[in-house]
């Protein structure tokens, strides 16, 4: 049900743009207005969300510690999994963000007869996630060759490495293959693992289908249904320089691709894709394990009802006296 819902949502998006371009001839809407609106929604939406998060304080110092603390000088502390300094925290966050450190720990529990529990290493999720995210990043950066003229040198470099194998013409990019493989894996995982299928919502399948469609339309355009690349660049450079023009006859595949990307951008700040900015603010990861070394302040430290020693002694004075315990008031 959730899968079908998401599938049809993406399908309708594609139908909408086909009708919009082929029948209604709304090139300016799909080529200029919607992309601008999408980018604005993306940027403003993320800023809004981050401000929304940042406005709530971090009242308590709650890092999840995953290694030896810094205590006695002769015990080696774990500087990255239990960082006690800001540098360590930066290291921990970098490992988390760039290499998905926590996912790398993943195991799979199995219950065998006996009963005997076994925990096998399970790095497929880590690998699939890492390959997907890095390919996505490389592909986005590669696209800058369309956006900015002259082409930036790092884009050319990236493009060269990505096309290292030089298979066919146009050159086959490694990331194109990898991202499709990784996305397929991430989708099949949700489909075949019954636990995952149980927890997956429409909002888990939708971005997967959306990104798969983006990748597929991109690949189709590059290798199969050719579009006029000069026109594409004209449009893209125009958009980037805030001087939009609609060149003639780019081809429908391009508009589908562009609209899907626009939907992804606009959808981003209202969805789980917020994990991208969110991880930077996660208090279990971005705080040092130094709460006994450095006092953490809670801005709303709420006064609470307390039971004082005086009240305690008043209640138990006779018993304390009989037991020979020292008293504040005789």
């Amino acid at each position: 049900m959730n899968i079908l819902f998401s599938f049809f949502a993406v399908f309708l998006i594609i139908v909408a743009v086909i009708i919009g371009i082929e029948i209604a001839q709304l090139e300016f809407l799909f080529g200029v207005i919607i992309p601008y609106a999408a980018v604005a929604t993306f940027l403003l939406g993320i800023i809004y969300q981050v401000i929304k998060w940042a406005r709530s304080p971090v009242p308590f110092h709650i890092p999840t510690v995953a290694g030896q603390q810094k205590s006695l000088s002769w015990i080696k502390s774990s500087k990255l999994d239990s960082p006690h300094s800001s540098l360590g925290v930066i290291g921990r966050m970098a490992l988390e963000i760039l290499l998905f450190r926590s996912l790398f720990r993943n195991t799979k529990a199995e219950l065998k007869d006996g009963p005997a529990l076994v925990y096998g290493s399970s790095k497929y999720l880590w690998l699939g996630a890492l390959l997907f995210h890095w390919s996505f990043l490389v592909i986005v950066l590669r696209h800058f060759r369309y956006f900015i003229e002259p082409i930036l040198s790092f884009v050319l470099l990236l493009q060269n490495y990505d096309g290292l194998f030089q298979i066919g013409l146009p050159v086959l990019y490694i990331t194109n293959i990898v991202i499709l493989a990784a996305l397929t894996f991430l989708f099949l995982r949700r489909l075949t693992d019954s636990k995952l299928k149980y927890i997956s919502l429409a909002s888990d399948y939708f971005p997967l289908f959306l990104i798969i469609s983006i990748a597929v339309t991109g690949i189709l355009m590059r290798y199969f249904t050719k579009v006029d690349i000069v026109s594409v660049k004209e449009l893209a450079v125009g958009l980037f320089s805030f001087n939009p023009v609609i060149p003639q006859a780019i081809g429908i595949m391009f508009y589908i691709h562009l609209f899907l990307v626009s939907v992804l951008l606009a959808y981003f700040p209202f969805s789980k894709l917020l994990h991208m900015p969110g991880i930077f603010l996660s208090p279990t990861r971005n705080l040092a394990n130094n709460s006994r070394m450095k006092r953490h302040i809670n801005p709303w430290n709420k006064p609470v009802r307390i039971h004082t020693y005086e009240e305690y002694e008043d209640e138990f004075r006779d018993k304390m006296k009989a037991a020979g315990l020292p008293l504040d008031k005789e």
Binding site: G67, R105, Y198, K272, L274, I279
Partner: protein
Amino acid sequence: MSESKIKPGELAKKINYEPPKKGWLDPTVDFKHGSYNFSGIPKNVEYLQLPNPRKWQPEDPDWQLPENWKEIILQGFKERLDKFRSLKIFMDICVRCGACSDKCHFFIGSGDPKNMPVLRAELLRSIYRNDFTAAGKVFGKFAGARELTIDVIKEWFYYFYQCTQCRRCSVFCPYGIDTAEVTILVRELLNLIGINIDWVITPVANSFRTGNHLGIQPHGFKDSLDFAVEDLESITNIKANTSINRKGAEILFVVPSADYFGEPHYFTLLGYMALFHEIGLDYTWTTFASEGGNFGSFVSHDLMKSLNTKIYAEAKRLGVKWIIGGECGHMWRVLHQYMDTMNGPADFLEVPVSPITGTKFENAKTTKMVHICEFTADLIKNGKIKLDKSRNDHRRVTFHDSCNPARAMGLIEEPRYVINNVCNHFFDMPDNTIKEQTFCCGSGAGLGTDENLEMRLRGGLPRANAVKFVKEKHDVNFLGCICAIDKATLPPLMDYWVGGVEVGGIHELVGNALIMKGEKERTKDLRGDSLLVNHLTHEHE
């Protein structure tokens, strides 16, 4: 308990990880006997001035909630979103990757999909989406949103009291989403409409009044210590110096109350006493803060603070320089991550310096409270105590990292260093079950009741299974731990799943090995067990 009569093999066979066909969005909860706790008794709910004291039980159809319960919950939710960035972030960024799904001991032991940490949090997240997000309002069910109903409340009660706040899931989450934080806050919400459990509420009420969870009054505390002094004397021929509520002592010592009232905790108490006497530590016990543990932390941040206040207040009143804390898990979560923020600054205390070794505990320089394992490890490293490891030769030891010392503090090597210096036979359990990946005893966060026994046994399965592994491989017969709840709940767990493994504290082992000046020859350990080892049973070491 009828549940405990189920044979381990049968209980394990009943575990099925295949989720039901029907989705989880429609709230359903089946209060299975043996898998939930009884409600807080009205007298104590009232004593703590918590809302809606009344007689009720979870299996009642009508929970007698206030008329405007929904408004109270949603208002409370909003307030907490504004006060806790953690909650906001954890509600917004989960991608349901499922990495946490089989990391929870309750899921592993029950197979109930709502015990997957991701789904436990979704029980709350679904309401968040419905009432606090645009996507949820527009797309409803398809965005995973659902309306808050009484059945949702019942589901929260059932499943957020099937979370021991152990934080194992948080270690594996790529964003560090911490179910303990979610559980703490949902329990706060439930308390706003008078939903709580007695095994938490009554200890909190006791602790508020008498200073400890067990409700032991000052003279009772003194009796316990006097008794311990006598016991220690009969074993060692040495009368340990102890003092209670003594002003001007250098150090205040705070332990979980079970240490002076429960078994096997008591043997650890004897260990502390022997150690402090031997090194001539100038320290005092306290009746007012006679509880290091903090069941308030299983109710709300407010009650956590309320109970925790006593430690600094007592340190100030007695004029000590700094504080040592005994072996306890959640106690150390509170001391390490909350106490200074809530009840500091402790500017009336000094940066802890061991009077025996001169070591300055820089790691505790603001909170001014040192873990007994840190203190003892330092003593051993500096050669300040004499130890006869062979006195623990009848123990083949493994170590259960308690959740909070491991995942809140990173206290991992200190206890191991101590163990390795007081006994000859130490064997760690497999890597995926110890240190930061340690498994909970299954009874933390206030869930250690008899009525909840089946769930405890299920939740304790991963821990028990790892112990069984080292028992079969290395003949392990002693499970060491540094947590009062562990000491109370691991023995029945071991009896059920493993058999032939005793549970005890690290300072019990220290007390056994400690050579005291002028002691008589030890023929028995602190438990009164003979020190003679049957070497035949350990021939394949």
